[in-house]
Symmetry: C2
Subunit: 303 residues, 2 copies
């Protein structure tokens, strides 16, 4: 008897066994191939299951998703972009298993609520800032799903700098301004010679002026999007994970300054914005919560 | 035996009797005075009750509010701005009555769900665009409250044009750009000679260039804020009431164009943004829903 958790990322799969305490063990990873995506995912799940009967699977996926339909359509997985029926495929692979499916942002919120900064917090925003920007929201104690399972898409809040086209088809989204990838691109257009968001952060910490400006721009845009979301949702806690969120003060100082400047409503005094203590495996932790919950894992908590 | 509904607006009170079908009748109104605000409110409630025993009161109030504390603090009522204990005052006035209290935006969402455009809609945004901009949100079937009862504050989403200071203490809020009052001020600064948002809309419909530009600016900012909120919440329906929302095509054409431009996410295709069919009394209707509900009026609906 085995319970599995699966994280469908933009570039890699991760899967593991969920133990009786809800922890993920025996994690295996595989890069997402250009073609034969399901076959790689299937083989990873079978390897983790190791021949045991699988009773439950929790799946967190990069979005957008269509949760009511059981379909995932990550923008960065071309073969699946127009929609892949992940729930039906996993149900066929493990007949009789309970399969639960959510967007990665909702898994992040579940993970933070289960073992991170959102324990007992009834109104909150969990974000990931890496190559893209995503998130999940907790409203009145519940992890929100939204109409199609896509609630928490904070990456597509419009911010000043709005002439930047976004991969979503819109214009001026915070993801198009402030993700690691967007920030590195902006810096390269101005003569910086590095590649990744991590390199950009290192350059900014070393005082390289273009890198410093790129992180100030990203932090300001993030602070604006956070202020917009915090007012709309009436939250007091925002927790941010993801690689680019670990860029240090060159990102966080302007982020905090923008929150200070924009979050003027009285009920937002004391808004906490903090770095996640969970690591890259947060989506997998959330998928494990999905898999191991006896009842509705999104339901209300009462502190 | 009487059930009462009370609407605390920025400039006027309205109160009425709630009949067995949840309708509001015998509505009385009173302007909010500069001082002695509670006395006017109290006299209005007593006049509506007409000596009957009051068993329940539903209160919707301009915000911000502190619902857990039972305190209202409307920005535009100076005597109450730092906080007035409305729930305790009404409980003392009508001993034994059940008193329920929410922000006007949540009442708007309750009203639209009860008798307007949001019947059976599980994920939605209800807005009012008049001298200010407010709203309420429906998330997974529930009217959201937020940590302090202030969820739905869409008026303080940051939009391009962000150098405009806002009454909330922030900068660049959509309310500071696109409300009737803000739009009229912007037009006056450019030589338009009218006063109100209604006059501005009339001038725009007559083709007056400054008025046309003011409404285009407002509509664009509203469309941007709506796109930001719709992605974050994964809603498919936005309903807008309030006087300035009735400005016609000079407002709605740029609003729709901005939604078209910014709401690029696949799950937002088909997002409906429509004018409310409820009139000015929507908050009072929502307060009646609060007063007459046997159980949690914010709870989930299943279409």
């Amino acid at each position: 008897m085995a319970v599995l958790a699966l994280d469908i990322g933009a570039t890699k799969f991760a899967a593991g066994l969920v133990d009786d305490a809800g922890r993920v063990t025996a994690v295996r990873r595989a890069p997402v191939p250009a073609t034969g995506v399901w076959e790689v995912c299937r083989d990873l799940l079978l390897a983790v299951a190791g021949g045991d009967t699988v009773t439950a699977v929790g799946i967190g996926s990069a979005g957008p998703v269509d949760v009511p339909a059981g379909v995932t359509g990550p923008l960065n997985i071309p073969e699946w972009r127009s929609g892949f029926g992940i729930v039906a495929a996993v149900e066929a692979l493990f007949p009789g298993a309970t399969v639960r499916f959510a967007i990665d942002g909702a898994c992040l919120a579940l993970a933070e609520r289960n073992s991170g900064a959102l324990r007992g917090v009834r109104n909150a925003l969990a974000m990931t800032v890496s190559s893209g920007i995503g998130g999940g929201i907790v409203v009145d104690g519940r992890v929100s799903l939204g109409r199609t399972g896509n609630a928490g898409h904070i990456g597509h809040i419009v911010v000043p700098g709005w002439d930047v086209p976004c991969a979503c088809g819109g214009v001026g989204c915070v993801e198009a301004v402030a993700s690691g990838m967007s920030s590195a691109r902006w810096a390269r257009e101005r003569g910086w010679t590095g590649e990744t968001g991590a390199e950009l952060a290192q350059a900014a910490r070393a005082g390289e002026p273009i890198a410093v400006a790129a992180l100030a721009r990203a932090g300001t845009a993030l602070g604006q999007a956070i202020s917009s979301a915090a007012g709309l949702l009436d939250v007091d806690t925002v927790v941010i994970g993801g690689g680019f969120a670990h860029s240090g003060e060159p990102l966080w100082q302007p982020l905090r300054a923008a929150v200070e400047r924009h979050a003027g409503l009285g009920f937002l005094r004391g808004l906490r914005v903090e770095l996640s203590r969970l690591d890259d495996g947060a989506t997998l932790v959330g998928a494990a919560v999905l898999a191991s919950s006896a009842e509705n894992p999104f339901g209300a908590v009462h502190p």
